[in-house]
Symmetry: C2
Amino acid sequence: MNDTLSEFRLADWSSLQLTQVELALSRWVACPVSEPAPAGLGDAMRYAVLDGGKRLRPLLVLAACEAVNGNPQAALRAACAVELIHAYSLVHDDMPCMDNDVLRRGKPTVHVRFGQAQALLAGDALQALAFELLTPDDDTVATDTQARLCRMLARAAGAQGMAGGQAIDLASVGMPLNSAQLHEMHRLKTGALLQVSVLMGACCGSASGEVTNALRDYGAAVGLAFQVVDDILDVTADSATLGKTAGKDAAQDKPTFVSLMGLEASRHYAAQLLAQALASLDKVDKTSLHGSSALRALADMLVNRQH
Amino acid sequence: MNDTLSEFRLADWSSLQLTQVELALSRWVACPVSEPAPAGLGDAMRYAVLDGGKRLRPLLVLAACEAVNGNPQAALRAACAVELIHAYSLVHDDMPCMDNDVLRRGKPTVHVRFGQAQALLAGDALQALAFELLTPDDDTVATDTQARLCRMLARAAGAQGMAGGQAIDLASVGMPLNSAQLHEMHRLKTGALLQVSVLMGACCGSASGEVTNALRDYGAAVGLAFQVVDDILDVTADSATLGKTAGKDAAQDKPTFVSLMGLEASRHYAAQLLAQALASLDKVDKTSLHGSSALRALADMLVNRQH
């Protein structure tokens, strides 16, 4: 099936997917009925994950899985796992020793609400839970797929991925990064997790090397575009629209695409990256993909979002 | 082979195992040659892991693997992975918002040396690395084993394990815990990771249900004994011997086995747990175990250690 973009309604598709994701997260994250987490930890974990967030990464996982006609149960677990990694990184990132942010998704951050120690533990426990979700002790996901998903997520989350990018970010405050350094920081800090979302979705099916490469390129372009747009929104949107403190990058003298290349060039760059992402899909679409409408629409939404 | 305790020299066995573990950790933890972690993150990770620690958990993994004649390459990865989880938990535990400790293994703690933000990230990256180590992209470890190891470690590290126990610990300062509550806290906080070390080692071979149950009982007894001895040493040893600040539990009014049952009864309890651990092995030894000398000697060392 290769439905065209004009027939595809992202809002309808997303709504269906998000219902599943929210239900699964609600059941799997420190569920107060089946697995109560001790001493307030479960509350902090649920607060960090539930009832907020655009769920971009889960949507990318599910769209990529759909494109390769993969195992939906594996994809739902992968979608939730990658969201848990994202959620834990926000909890830790917001802490006073990092960005010291008090507002996230329009609510007090986890450490403001539960205290720093509990926030630290909740983040740690969410990371562990991500890998627990990927390795169910039943026959819904082949163990070969489980192992591959863990391998991919671990690498994207760690020193060669998200955590490494955050370390560059830490070291770069007030430093004039050049374009290559800025790209490298974002490739790791946000790009790695967005790209791996696409690749984990692909891993839930039996994608050929050619398809995997196309999706890898798509994921790289989308991951970078996301950050460029984030930098644009940081200077053009207000805190209420963003649900987090706007203008923080400029205030903290952090290097951004906007500070490096200016606002208009950044907008042009984002559009260019979107075109690249779509071109990657074109290479394998019609012959090898089950349907790429969701991936296409997500890339478009991600670049043209207002918050 | 069932060599007897009298013929077995733990020091020789440990020395051989530790050489392998140190070499593997040095190669795998943010190796400055093959995979440099960015912006000082690698230095913080290596500082947290290398050149210190008793490596009890790795030794338990390797001893259990030996007892079931398992895959040594899988066991070495499991041994390093569980040590990384332990190491990251110490880094986060020592931070000002948690125990605020400045001395660990006789050296300044990671946040004192590298700053809080880098310590937070290093801990996060070490946890991710643990799961990366468990899922090598080659044929040294069967993917079925990889998935099982990830499942076990994730659960033992998360809200139903170590992180959950730390949350109880946080909530219990200045609170009179009863014996059941104190046991539950330690079963999660330190017991889960020690027990899973044994079970991960067993998982590297094809242990029968009977053997796995015996090793689970052994791991539970040893895990609890470890904490009882820790509580004893906190009041009887000095900081120089411990390599960390002694007397902190009492100073912080934390409930301990010593504060609950007194010093002599705690010593008696530790001896009793050692006997239980050995009795668990007796049940399956001679018929089903390849050799339990290392497990026996480790239990003995763990209870009779002076630091």
